[in-house]
Symmetry: D2
Subunit: 434 residues, 4 copies
């Protein structure tokens, strides 16, 4: 259990919301959620721990419309920016924000900043794209992002100036933890300037590893696509003498996609993830045993797995500041071939690196619903004057979480938890952590 | 909030589990969950309600392996039966049970009873199918159930005799609330006879309306398929002068599929569900307005919607005891045509009843993972001697729930809740409940 | 063999093409096809028959660009109209025409007439939609037609007047044989008026039954979709006691979709098509035998099959002049139930009428290529001054065929031919024609 | 046009077929094709060329059952072997052969040799797998080959001995031109030994480049899959500043997949194939222009393209004797980055090498029909005593072609032909051959 205090879950506000929602919108809008709260924790041991220590039990706000607004719709100008790598559902979120702004609040001015934060720096970026419901009507059916994306930060002051010059009151930022850190700096800059701009994040990580959030958009779709690739590897493995299908999947720091795709496909024999360092020689010996017994095998490896095994190259970082990983896929392929060659045992390794094909597809129906709800929640939160927060998902509810909380660390597959145990049981692979 | 007492969540047991799991299996099996509990409720108001009333706060057991076993694997004989209509994922559950029994516990005898409860009555049914890992290896990639299914109960005494004659210790029952009621009667019969057979349910309802359970298997897949059909209706609607795509979806008592498919596809203009009775003339007038303004419309109707509007035919029931519904689809088509004809306004209604095509497909990757976990949880629960319970899902965890609890009522779409409000916001349709 | 004379294949022209293509376009354009011809027949017996009778062997022109143009691009104004029921690929054809007109010839004026021929009658229809490459850029990825469609003719004189008033020189007509008859009348009207408008047809029939044409667009996609439905029926059949999956597929006059979907899925036990009348009682007896032996069966029936078996209702015609068929699906379901009930043999019939879901999907990649080529061929043919012809496909080539030829009759599944024999061999069903 | 002498189309026979088919099978089997022939050529110029030279016009036999059999079913033992790389449809062909042997001729003994020709050498290979209709019932729904495959030849004498020892009369060989050469040698060995074994080939090349054959199985499916990958590249390209999606597709010697996938997806800007050598600097300059104008681009490159541009590495050959190609994908990526870096122009290259994921999928419905017909034709041809031939497809018919003919050369995309011209028109790319 991660220590989270009651106070950690308090949401920042730009100020007191002064307008009555129903009066402003001229109609009854039900489902107000001003006072509803859900418990942040669900394990009895966690909850009772607070009670014993006589601490307040942490609770979170639910996403949704509020009875009072901070912004008047006719004075509201919205910006959206999508940052980092592609992830299924980006367009659905854009669409949901534009539609909610227009149809719920009557806000007509929504700018889509182009290519990540660079679009918020007029020196380097392209001018924003005015968005309306016509333009975004069908975009949820396609992958990618109509705004484009990019990695890396921009100067907060420059962005603040630019937003001010455009009269933006609300900025929606879709991106990973690096993006959220950029958003927090921007929020601080705003606060310093006493410029009341609401900054609401929608956490994006195809790897599903944002802290304290049960599920992030696009993850389910990615798992679905990954199972297609694993099925191909399986067919290749069975189609060759001692065939070994080797698939590299996304997962820099965490093995959620690898683990879930392994469970979803039921045909993986070895699943290697960053959370559980594996012994190369033990793995190769186990693989050999499997091949001798069954003549084919499927190996799934998360891109961040086994980094300690690869001789270090030059240290290198991408624009998001992520350390460039050594490429575990070709390394493993080479090692497998070396191992089998040394034993004069034929082995046909079919290596598949599906790379961009997984993250660029259109979302599944379920991810579409998820993105729709995230987008709506984001607009409602912003209109109420909340800021420096994200829309998250936990305990079957869409919730508000402070940006400071979700950037604390990256979530990991718990190697003592049910999911990973089930992976071990399903693959029959050795538990290197045991 | 539904009143659930702490005691409502206690799980029945056949007796004290006497065998040490690790000793019996001859290996360390981690992830034991003997004492872990999660809170049943998550709303602060719910939880604090119990505290104020000085009642125990309801908590639930987590699904997973236990440190002590009631059954000795070598003496254990397992039965599986699938009942009611098809639902994506049935085969994955069968596969998961067979694999967990074999690979985790070394249990080799698993019988698949054919065609629902009729397979438990040797007078009417067919002999059971012996299942092993070879037979079930690839079945998770296909829809349907390899065991077959049927509706309706059989006599508890007859089933108890038959199970006894086969030496079955554990029976897994996959089915809806009717099926679970049958299972409870069987469990009572067993208790009466002091025949220690564990009966574990895996709740099946493609409509996702089992009480107190957040998600049931196959639902996500059904929504995914339904969006395909809605896309077809949309194309048909746009392709004709004043085209109206009318789609009937599953949902006898609840509109979860209709509501979620509406959100997932983002192109529905009217979503009609049983929970919110609609005024026929108002709906027709709204539809007319939409057609005059936009020249096309998509209408999704759950099969249980609008039953009050249709002149009653003869009362009729299916073998599961479900009242046969009047067919809302053709009724609505006829009424729409009548309305537009009367106004001399051309309208081209394209009615689609996708019926069996939605429920018979193979599960999505995510549903596969879900079914895998349900199956594993079921075997672990049975081996520990638990009975008359189901494997459920709540608060992001797989849990144990008493059968008595989940058959209390059927879950409904809350028409004051976020999902339905979002449907209203997304479609722009009138809120008949307002 | 159908008698086709050399003269039957001559293509009408508006006049002598006077402009040199390369000179007009200002660049070299290779792949000119002025003199290339392919043989219409391929059976030795057919070809030698002409030789013996000392008749000219029929040959056809290939589709593609010509070295001389009849129309000057800068004076050319194009119209497109899509008629009849939806068919996968309509949008790809529209896109291909717009792109070829713009990028190959530099023609900027392309009107899309709305909702079939009604869009060519300003009294009843809606104004045309100006089309350009931006508008049509992504439409090939979606089903339906962005122009809309409708059934039924309009007065030739009215359409001719309207086309003249808009200055249209070229009209592309996408539709079935009824549509082509309308196009021929319009072409005659033009000739009478000495109004040089080229009218080029692109034959549309999801049933693949246009005379003398090997393949029509959308057919392959329809078969692909139909196999999905048959797979569902198969799962339903296997999932129930004596389950019978009954699927009605398109095919008013011909069973091409039913036959090909039967072959494509390999799991159909009975395939009923209009070309081979079946004996109801014999079919039911065979079905009973199959059920007794194997406990499940899949029956595919084309909508036009068995019309002679159904008690005639009132004669009725749709706007295209097609006689409304009796609904064979429910009739067959009722008869099957009657038969099994009389024998006190349980049977669970699952009837699926996928209706609009098959014809409204996006085309497969192969159908996309096909539509692209048809659209390009159509523009080239029109620019050379050809008229009253269609773009067809035969002997692996895209060709020109006179409209008079392709409307002579509707193609049928040859019940003595290889495809149908293979259906009989594959299903094992009786040959009612034997 | 390639000159084809009349003799080339004569099909070898093991001897006179002595048994009356209907008498042997005890039932009427219609659709006998003893005397039907179709013309090999279809271009008027080709056909008239023969006439002018007073040569006989080449004609081909149609695939299908014959009125007389060479083999008696009860004495017939069949072998099947699949060689070379995976290709969608292999299992459907296996299934079709087994079903036709069993259900049409009543032949129960069918051996599936494992892992290509190595399965025909008992010294190195694994024992054959006995096949029956139960075993192969559902295999057409999955990719790969249940027999496994491998590259490379085995000694003819060894294989002949082994076939003799097993009493095999008929061997079906599924593979590429190398495989067919092996089959011809085996046929010669058989002839030398006067061992009457029929050897029938089913040409496999996912690249669709078998000489004189219009279409090979799996090609359509591969194009379908390739369009999915291209769509991903498109999304990636549009999602990044100056994004360039670079996709490597199969096509060692020919660009059919690249060209058709380009047409099928309509979103490719540059398609590079082996048949049209491209100028690297010109390509880069054109790509730069495209990026400056439109900010994104999609490049498809066949694996055999641009080999002349890559500095030669060590010459290397795979077991099939194919020269290992230099890897054009990473080379092109590097060159693009070099080019843009030199111009200080940002460019984000997203390189996708889908590799095995394309060839290992299950076939489309249309490819399933195709494979079914090939398999049936092969069995009929063998039973009539034909040998050293393949089942091909041409002029819309399944035909018999001598193995000698189809191994003469590999088919190429005609760079003056309609398909390639259409690629140039569609992409707008330069014609390097001009």
């Amino acid at each position: 259990m991660y220590e989270v205090a009651f106070e950690d879950l308090l949401i920042s506000r730009l100020g007191e919301p002064q307008f009555d929602t129903e009066q402003v919108l001229g109609r009854k809008v039900e489902g107000m959620l001003d006072n509803d709260r859900i418990l942040f924790h669900r394990h009895l041991s966690d909850v009772s721990g607070y009670a014993q220590k006589q601490q307040k039990i942490p609770v979170v706000e639910l996403a949704g419309p509020r009875s009072r607004l901070f912004f008047k719709p006719q004075d509201t100008r919205i910006g959206i920016v999508t940052c980092g790598g592609l992830c299924p559902g980006l367009n659905t979120i854009i669409r949901s924000i534009v539609y909610t702004a227009d149809q719920y609040y009557g806000i007509k001015t929504v700018y889509g900043f182009r290519y990540g934060y660079s679009g918020l720096n007029p020196q380097v970026g392209q001018p924003p794209l005015p968005l309306d419901t016509n333009l975004v009507d069908n975009i949820h059916m396609q992958g990618g992002t109509i705004l484009g994306s990019s990695r890396g930060p921009q100067d907060s002051a420059v962005m603040a100036d630019y937003l001010a010059s455009l009269g933006i009151n609300i900025l929606f930022v879709v991106g990973g933890d690096g993006t959220m850190r950029g958003a927090m700096e921007l929020a601080k800059e705003m606060e310093k300037r006493r410029q009341p701009i609401s900054i609401i994040g929608i956490p994006k990580t195809i790897d599903n590893d944002i802290a304290f959030i049960e599920r992030t958009f696009g993850f389910e779709t990615a798992v679905e696509e990954a199972t297609r690739v694993i099925a191909a590897a399986h067919m290749e493995a069975k189609g060759a003498v001692n065939g070994i299908g080797l698939v590299k999947l996304m997962g820099r720091d965490s093995g959620f996609i690898a683990a879930n795709a392994t469970l979803a496909s039921c045909i993986v024999n070895f699943c290697l993830i960053p959370e559980e360092p594996f012994h190369l020689e033990k793995f190769l010996a186990d693989l050999e045993r499997r091949i001798r017994r069954r003549q084919h095998a499927v190996v799934v490896v998360a891109e961040g797995a086994g980094q300690d095994l690869i001789p270090a190259g030059q240290e290198d970082f991408d624009k998001s500041g992520n350390k460039r990983l050594q490429d575990i896929g070709p390394f493993l392929k080479k090692e497998i071939i070396r191992h089998f060659t040394a034993r004069q045992l034929e082995a046909n390794v079919r290596y598949i690196d599906p790379s961009y094909t997984i993250r660029s597809v259109a979302p599944t129906g379920d991810d579409n619903v998820f993105c729709l709800m995230l987008g709506q929640g984001a607009v409602h939160a912003a209109m109420s004057g909340r800021t420096a927060m994200v829309i998250g998902y936990r305990n079957d509810h869409y919730i508000h979480l402070p940006m400071t909380l979700v950037t604390r660390f990256r979530k990991k597959v718990e190697i003592k938890g049910r999911t990973w145990k089930t992976v071990l049981d399903t693959t029959g692979q050795a538990d290197y952590a045991a």
